[in-house]
C-alpha cells in the first residue's frame, strides 16, 4: 500500500501546479489591471508565486520520494539512527532566512508607492461608505468641498484617465472596504477617519466597485461602479451633473 499512498501524495504537487497552469488559460486569474501601479503588485504576486511554487514542488516531491523509497514493507534496510545534523540545520535556517529577508525588502518600494507617498494635491472626489451604498461627492466648480456647489452621486463614480487622482475615503456608520479589483486598490473605510487613496487609471471603461469588509446583512449588494473616461468626457459629465443638480435644487438662499 505504500506505493498507493506515495502516489496519492504525489498528486498534490502534480495537480497543484497543474491547476495554476490551467486556470489562467480559462480566464480564472487576476482581473485585467488598468492602473499605473498595478503592475508592481502583479509582479510581486507572480514573483512570490514562482518562488513559493519552487519550494512547494521541491518539498512535496521530497515527501513523495521518501514515502516511496522508505516504505518499511519494501525497504529491507534498517532505519538510519540519527538525531539530526548541526550543519544541515544551520544551512536550512540561513538559506530561507536570507530569502525571506530579501522578499521583505524587495516589496517595500511598491507598498510605499501605493500607500505611503501621498501626492500633494487636493482630493478629486470624496467617497463616504454607508449601509449599503457609496455616497460620492465632487467639489464642484470652486474646487472646494463643503460648499454649496458640491456635486453628489450614489454608487456611480467617474474618474479621469491618464492623471493621478486623490480619493478621500470616509464611512458614515460601520466599517466598509473600498475594493477596485481592476485597479488593485483596497482600503477599509473607518468611521471617524478620512483616509486618502490615489490612483492613475490607464484605460477607459466601467469597473466594479466592491465592498470587501463585512458591513451587515446587505454587504453583498453594496455595489458601485467606476467609469473611467477621458478628461473631456469627465468634465462634461461633471457639468451635466451640475446642471441636473441645479435644476432640482431650491433657489439659492442668502449664505450666512
Amino acid at each position: 500500500m505504500g506505493k498507493v499512498w506515495s502516489l496519492l501524495f504525489l498528486m498534490v504537487p502534480v495537480l497543484g501546479v497543474g491547476v495554476f497552469l490551467v486556470a489562467p488559460a480559462y480566464g480564472h486569474w487576476l482581473p485585467k489591471d488598468v492602473s499605473a501601479h498595478g503592475h508592481m503588485i502583479d509582479h510581486l504576486f507572480n514573483f512570490i508565486l514562482w518562488l513559493t511554487g519552487g519550494v512547494f514542488v521541491a518539498t512535496e516531491i521530497a515527501l513523495f520520494w521518501f514515502m516511496w523509497k522508505y516504505d518499511a514493507k519494501r525497504n529491507p534496510q534498517a532505519a538510519k539512527f540519527t538525531h539530526g545534523s548541526h550543519n544541515v540545520e544551520v544551512a536550512w535556517t540561513l538559506l530561507p532566512a536570507a530569502t525571506l529577508l530579501f522578499i521583505a525588502i524587495y516589496q517595500m518600494n511598491a507598498w510605499a508607492q501605493v500607500k505611503i507617498f501621498k501626492p500633494d494635491m487636493p482630493a478629486t472626489v470624496e467617497v463616504t461608505a454607508r449601509q449599503f451604498e457609496w455616497r460620492i461627492r465632487y467639489p464642484g466648480p470652486d474646487g472646494k468641498f463643503d460648499t454649496r456647489d458640491d456635486l453628489f452621486t450614489v454608487n456611480d463614480m467617474h474618474l479621469p484617465v491618464g492623471e493621478t487622482v486623490l480619493i478621500d475615503l470616509k464611512s458614515a456608520d460601520v466599517l466598509h472596504s473600498f475594493f477596485l479589483p481592476h485597479m488593485r486598490m483596497k482600503q477599509d473605510a473607518v468611521p471617524g477617519s478620512k483616509i486618502p487613496m490615489w490612483v492613475k487609471i490607464k484605460e477607459e471603461g466601467m469597473y466594479d466597485l466592491v465592498c470587501a469588509e463585512l458591513c451587515g446583512w446587505g454587504h453583498y449588494k453594496m455595489k458601485g461602479r467606476v467609469t473611467a473616461q477621458s478628461r473631456e468626457d469627465f468634465d462634461q459629465w461633471l457639468a451635466q451633473l451640475q446642471a441636473e443638480q441645479e435644476r432640482t435644487q431650491e433657489p439659492e438662499k442668502p449664505e450666512e
Partner: protein, 602 residues
Amino acid sequence: MAAIPHAHDDAHAHAHEHGREMSLGKFLTTYVFSFDHKVIGLQFLFSTLIWFSVGGLLALGVRWQLAWPWTKMPIVGDLFFSSTGGQISPEFYTMLFTMHASIMIFFVIIPILAGAFGNFLIPLMIGAEDMAFPVLNMMSYWFMWPAFLCMIASFFVEGGASAAGWTGYPPLSSVHSAAPASHTGQTLWVMGLIFVGVSSMMGSVNYMTTIIQMRAPGMTMFRMPMTIWGMFITAILQAFALPVLTAALFMQLMDRTIGTSYFIPEGLIVNGAPAGSGGGQPLLWQHLFWFYSHPAVYIMILPAMGMVSDMISTFARKPLFGYKPMIYSIAGIAGLGFIVWGHHMFMSGMSPWLGTTFMVSTIMIALPSAIKVFNWLATIWAARIQYTTAMLFALSFVSLFIIGGLSGIFMAATPVDIFIHDTYFIVAHIHYVLFGGSAMGIFGGIYFWFPKMFGRMMNEFWGKVHFFLTFIFFNGTFYPMHILGAAGFPRRLADPYHYETFQHLLPMNQFITVCAIGMGASQIILAANMIYSLLKGPKCGRNPWHANSLEWTAPSPPGHGNFDFQPVVYRGPYEYASPLVDDDYFPQTRPPVEGEDKLAHH
C-alpha cells in the same frame, strides 16, 4: 480505586464489589464532575467533536448559497427557512459564516487540542498521576458549558445568532442598529467567548504548572515529547494573550449593554439612529482582538505540530530529526507570534509605516515553520515507514501545512495583500493551516491515541478509507479557493455573482461545494468507526504501536493515578532503531544498557 470510563476491568470489578447500583453521587463524581484528567479530556473530546459537526453543517450552508445562490436548499430548506420558501436569506447567510468560524475556532480546534489532547496526554506523557490542580481542571471543562449554552441560545433568540463575522469588528458588532439581525445574539456571542476564555485560562495555568512541577524522575525538559512541548508553549501563549482578548470582549459587552463607547467614534449615525456617546476608536478593537487572535493561530497549530512529530517519529521507526531545533522553532513561532498581529490590519487604515514593520516580522515568522517542515522531511528520510492511518494523517499534515505556510507569504507581502485581502485566497490559506494542518493532526491523534483512551483499537481499513476521502475532498474543496482569490473573489458575500467581475467563477464554486459535501459526508465514517471500535474494537495491550513515550507503559486505558508502577525516565522519547537494543524501539523507562552514555553524547 475510582474508575475511568469504558471497558476498564478494574473499574467494573470495583463497582460490583460495592453492590449492584453505583450511588448517584459516585456516578456524578466519576463520570460527570470528575477530577480525573482522562475523564475531563474525553469530555472535552466528545463535546468538541459534536461542535465540529455543527460547525461543519453551517459551512455546508455557506457552500450551498455560493454554488446555487437563492435556490431552495434540499432537505433542510423547508425546515429552517419556510418563510423564504426554503432559500437562505442574506441575514441568515451572514450568520452562517460568522457562527461557522466562531464555533470551529473557539469550540473545536482550541478546546480539542488543549482541552482534549492536552488533558489526556500531559500527565501520561510526563509520568504524572494527574494534573497539578484537578479541581481547577474540572472547572475548566464546566466553564465551557455556559459558553455552549450561550452559543446554542443565540440561535434561538430573536434575530438569530451573531452575524458580525467571527472577528466581531465594531461598530457593526457593538451598535444595535448596525446589525438588527443579531441583537441579543451578538451579546450572547461575546459572553460565550468570555466563558471560553476563562476555561482556557484555567487550563493553561494548570498545564504550565503540571509540566514544570510534576514530571517523573529523569524526565528532564529536553526528554519531553514534542506533544508536551507544543502544549507547554501553547499554554504560555494562552496565558499572555488571553487577558487582552478578555478585556476587549468586556469592552464590547459594555458598549453593547451599558452605553460605553470604547469602539464607537463621535457622532455616528447608523441606520438613522445615533449610536453611542462617541470618543471611541474602531481600530482599537482590531488591535486588541488580533493581539490575541494571531497567537491563537499558533495555539491552534503548535499542539498539533507536536502530536504530528510524535506520530511521524513513531511510524518512521526513526528518531525525530533535529529535536532541539524543533523546540526552538516552536518557541520562535510563539515569540514572533506576539509581534505580527498587525498583518490582519494592513488595509484597516492603520498607518502604512506600521504596516511595513508588521510585514517584516510576519515574513520572518515563516522561517521557524520552514525549519519544522525540513526536519519532518528529514525524519522520514532513510526511515522504515509504517503506513498506519495515524501516520497517513500525520504525513498529510506536512503536505498540506506546506501549502498553508507558503500561501501565507503572499498575504504577508503588503502590496500583494492589497489585492488578496478579504478574498478567498485568505479563506484557502486559513483552511490549509487549520483544516489541512490542525484538523488532520487531530484526526491522526484520534487514531493514534484511541487505543490508550479506550483500550481498544480502531478499524484500520475504515480509517484509511476515511483518510483517503478526506484528503481528496479536502484538496478539492480548498485548493481551487486559491484561484478564486487570485481572481479577486471576496469572502463573506451572500451573492458575489451580481458583480460582473466574478460571474465566471460560479462553476468553480459549484465544484467546491460538491467536494465540501463529500468531505462532510466522509466524516460519518470516522464517527461510525469511533463508536463501533469503542464497543467492539479488538482489545489492545499497553503498547500497540511499539512506541517509546511514557503513556504507552501505562495500562490501556490507564486507571486512576495512571501508572501501576513508578515510571523513571532514562532517555528521550525518540530512540527508534537504536543500535543498542534488538527491538527497533527503546522505551523511555527501560533501564539503561551498556554503552548508552557514550552514545548519548554523540
